[in-house]
Symmetry: C2
Subunit: 260 residues, 2 copies
Amino acid sequence: MAEAPTKFPEVQGGGSLIIAWQIKGKKVLVVGGGEVAAGRILHCLNADANVTVVAPRARLNPEVAYRVAQKQVTHVDRTFEPADLDGADMVLVAVDDPAASTQIWKLCKERRIPANIADVPPECDFYFGSVHRDGPLQIMVSTNGKGPRLASLIRKFIAKQLPSDAGRAIERVGQLRVRLRQIAPRPEDGPKRMAWMTKVSDAYPFDEICGLSDEDIGNLLRFYPAGKVPSLEELKAMRSSPPAEKLDVFDGSFGFSVGA
Amino acid sequence: MAEAPTKFPEVQGGGSLIIAWQIKGKKVLVVGGGEVAAGRILHCLNADANVTVVAPRARLNPEVAYRVAQKQVTHVDRTFEPADLDGADMVLVAVDDPAASTQIWKLCKERRIPANIADVPPECDFYFGSVHRDGPLQIMVSTNGKGPRLASLIRKFIAKQLPSDAGRAIERVGQLRVRLRQIAPRPEDGPKRMAWMTKVSDAYPFDEICGLSDEDIGNLLRFYPAGKVPSLEELKAMRSSPPAEKLDVFDGSFGFSVGA
C-alpha cells in the first residue's frame, strides 16, 4: 500500500505454486484404500502413472477394489512397510493412523520423495484441489485450504460456464499447430510459426474458437505464408456451402459428395 | 468402450496431476533473468517462497531487476554454478542455453530436486499453466501442452464469468469455519462441525454465497446447534433493516448509528 505503484504486477502472497506434475510412467505409491485414496488413485491414473496401492484387501473401498480387479493398479495386500518406498517417485498417504502417517512422511523426506499425507497440511509437499477435466483441458480450483467444498462448487460453476466443446477446441488448436509444422517444418521457421500462432490465439475470443470446424482450420492455414490472420467473418465467409464434415470425409473425391 | 459401464468414474489418461505445491519459506532457485524467469519469480513470490535468482545483472529484464532492487528476491550476479543447488527445494531454469539447461537438469535429478527447464518438456518434473488469482482462490488452466496461449485465453474467459467477489466469499466461508470452531471448539464436535459445513456449502449456489454479508454469516451460525441450514430466503429475511455494514462498525454502540 505504501509503495509507489509500478508497471509490474504486485506480489500477492499466501498462495500456492500450482503446477501440472508429470507422472506418466512414474511409480506413485498410494498407502490406504479408502474413499480419499480412491480419489487420489483416479487423479494419478488420469495422468498415466503406474499406481501401487498398499492396503489390506479387507480395507479396500468398492472403487479401489474395482481398480485392483481391473488391473488398473498394482495391489500390495498388507499394511505399509518402508521397502514399499523403493523406486517410488511420489507417495500419497490416506490412512486413519496419524503415527503411521507421520512415520511415512519422515521416510519420504529422508529419501526426498514428494509426498502428501491426507488431512495433515504440515506433512504435505503439495495439496490437491478440485479438477475439471475435458480432454486436454484441465482446470484446477484451490481455495488454499479455506474451503475444500467450495473449491468443488466453484469447479462446477466454471464447468457450467465453459463452452461444451472446449476440450475439442483445444485439440483443434493442437491440430492447427501440427498442420502448421507440416507446412513450415524448418527450425528457422520457428519464430514465424510461434508469432503466427500467437496472433491466431489473440484474434478470436475463446468461445468463438470452440466453434471453428476442421474446414475453418484448413482455411486459416492459407493465411500463414503471408503471416496474416483473417477476421472471424472472413473465415466464416470462406466456408463451402455443403456441410464441412462431408467435405472432409470425401476430400479428393469431391464429385461423389455433391448432392449427397 | 468395450468394457461394461460401472458406477465408478472412467479413467481419462493423458492428463497431468495438477497440485498446489507448498513453497512457503522454501528456497527456490531461478536460473535466468529474462521474461520467462520474471513470470516464474512472480508465481513463486505469490506462494511465499524464498527466491534466489542466478543471472548476470546485465541480462536481467526490467521486472526481474525491479524485484532485485526491491529485495523481493536474492540476486547472484553471475551464471549458474553447481553449488547454487545446495539447499534448493525447487529449481526453475529459463536460459537460452540448451547445453547448460540439460546439465542443470541432470544435477537436479541426481539430487532429487524438483525442476522445470522452460521449453524443454522432457526436462521437466512439472509444467506451469495460466493462473487466475483472487485472494485465497487460485484457478489454474492447463491445456497439457496443446496451446499455452489458449490456456491464458481460457483463464481470462473464466475470470470474466466468476462473481467479482469470489475471493472475498471464500474468505467469508473461511471465517465461518473459524467462528464455528469458537462456538464448538471440542475435538468431539469435529464430525458435527464438518457435516454442518458440508450442508452449508451444498445449500447455496456459489454465486449466492458470494452475496452473503458478515451479518448473514452471523445469522447462519445460529442454525448450527440444531444442525440445520436455512434457505437463502430465510437467511435474507433475517437481515436487520439498517445496512449490515453499519451495524458491524457500530457493534455495541447501536444508539449512535441509528439515523446516521
